[in-house]
């Protein structure tokens, strides 16, 4: 049954030391920044974080890293012009990094939610990122065996939720949200608006409520996108 939290701090209060946390977003689109900030305040440490990137500037995920709460990160593109907090942690050996091609990252998360124990992909075959991984030839081409990623928790930003936790997203802010919600034991979702159950057309729901545990409404004005239609 959906838990509707009154604040981001309340929503993340269940996250425990040593958890694996899947964090949605690609750039600022779909980034659950209020939840990430609340997680930093919450202070549970020794976290493994799964995100496409490794933080920008000194806000959001970068600040979570800067607070020393993350010991391992799985991502596709850590190095950015303003990823200086991650860069410093990495170079000083304070954070462990697993780099995964972006599509393999997405498919591993999807597999985690879908009960797939492993899959073979062409991506990275013959490259340094396949070193140490099992590979196999199908129809004359080499494929790499990749394993699922699951999270204890997911932090996701969606556009709207109904009272049961059915979610819709907005434009490219959808990105990792649906697959992360499905791959976590408990999904915590910030939305711009909670609408009455039945107000969302069943045909347009992207994340069915079975994948959502906690929802918190964060005032749209406080989020970083343009005002939402």
């Amino acid at each position: 049954m959906l838990n509707i939290a009154q604040s981001a701090d309340e929503a993340v209060s269940v996250i425990t030391e040593g958890s694996t946390v899947l964090i949605g977003g690609f750039g600022t689109a779909g980034q659950p920044i209020e939840l990430i900030d609340a997680l930093r305040r919450h202070g549970a440490g020794n976290l493994t974080v799964v995100n496409n990137n490794a933080g920008n500037g000194d806000v959001g995920l970068a600040a979570l890293l800067g607070a020393g709460l993350v010991t391992r990160i799985i991502c596709s593109f850590p190095r950015q012009v303003d990823s200086y907090i991650f860069d410093e942690l990495y170079r000083s050996g304070k954070i462990e990094l697993e780099v995964v091609p972006q599509g393999t990252l997405a498919e591993r998360i999807r597999a985690g939610g879908a009960g797939i124990a492993g899959f073979y992909t062409r991506t990275s075959a013959g490259t340094p990122l396949a070193v140490g991984k099992e590979s196999r030839v199908f129809e004359g081409k080499e494929y790499v065996l990749e394993l699922p990623i699951r999270g204890d928790f997911a932090l996701v930003k969606a556009h709207r939720s109904d009272g049961m936790g059915n979610l819709v997203y907005r434009k490219t802010a959808r990105n990792f949200g649906p697959i992360m919600a499905a791959a976590a034991n408990a999904s915590i979702v910030q939305v711009s608006e909670i609408v009455e159950t039945g107000a969302l057309d069943p045909e347009i729901i992207v994340t069915p409520c079975i994948y959502v545990d906690t929802v918190v409404q964060i005032d749209a004005d406080a989020t970083h996108g343009k005002a939402r239609a």
Partner: protein, 222 residues
Amino acid sequence: MSFHTVENLDAAPLDRDAMAKLVAQDIPANSFVNLGIGQPTKVSDFLSSDSGVILHTENGMLGMGPQAVGDAIDLDLINAGKIPVTELPGTSYFHHADSFAMMRGGHLDVCVMGAFQVSAKGDLANWSTGGDDAIPAVGGAMDLAVGAKDVYTMMTLFAKDGSSKLVPECTYPLTGLGCVSRIYTDVATFILENGAVYVRETFSVSLEELRSRVPVELLTYP
């Protein structure tokens, strides 16, 4: 396709815009195309609206329009380079796993990427210079390399030290094996077919000069 090799000795080397324009002209009409971040993004400026080309961006959109400006900027609507863009009629949105399934499943006709090196066999190196100090970061490059039916690369042909980036074997870490079908450079365009490298045209240099500086057998079309 049949080509005819041309030496444009009097032409200037192509600048970034000219290279992007050439790539845009070569993309078949009505193709589904992904333009990599950085230089390839510029190709979209030269795609005519009647080309029917439909752009995919791997963060979850098909039917991407031009870069957004002014009031059209919406931070929920960005491309893979995290630049605000617009949507065109017929756009669709999907999540990351569906987006990369579209790539990896071979549904895109063309992707255009930058390159550090391309080998004569079409191996691509464009994600890491392999420096000891480098922080690895790959993004969607490896997925694009294996997914698109045709991979076009854009680069200057020679590195700052004068060495050729078209090489017998890549020395930089690989992005994908045997995936590149065309190489667009400032001084020549190359077609890779069945493990052989053909020069399609040169700009400012002769075939003879190219052959003296590129350590790969360069064939020509009659």
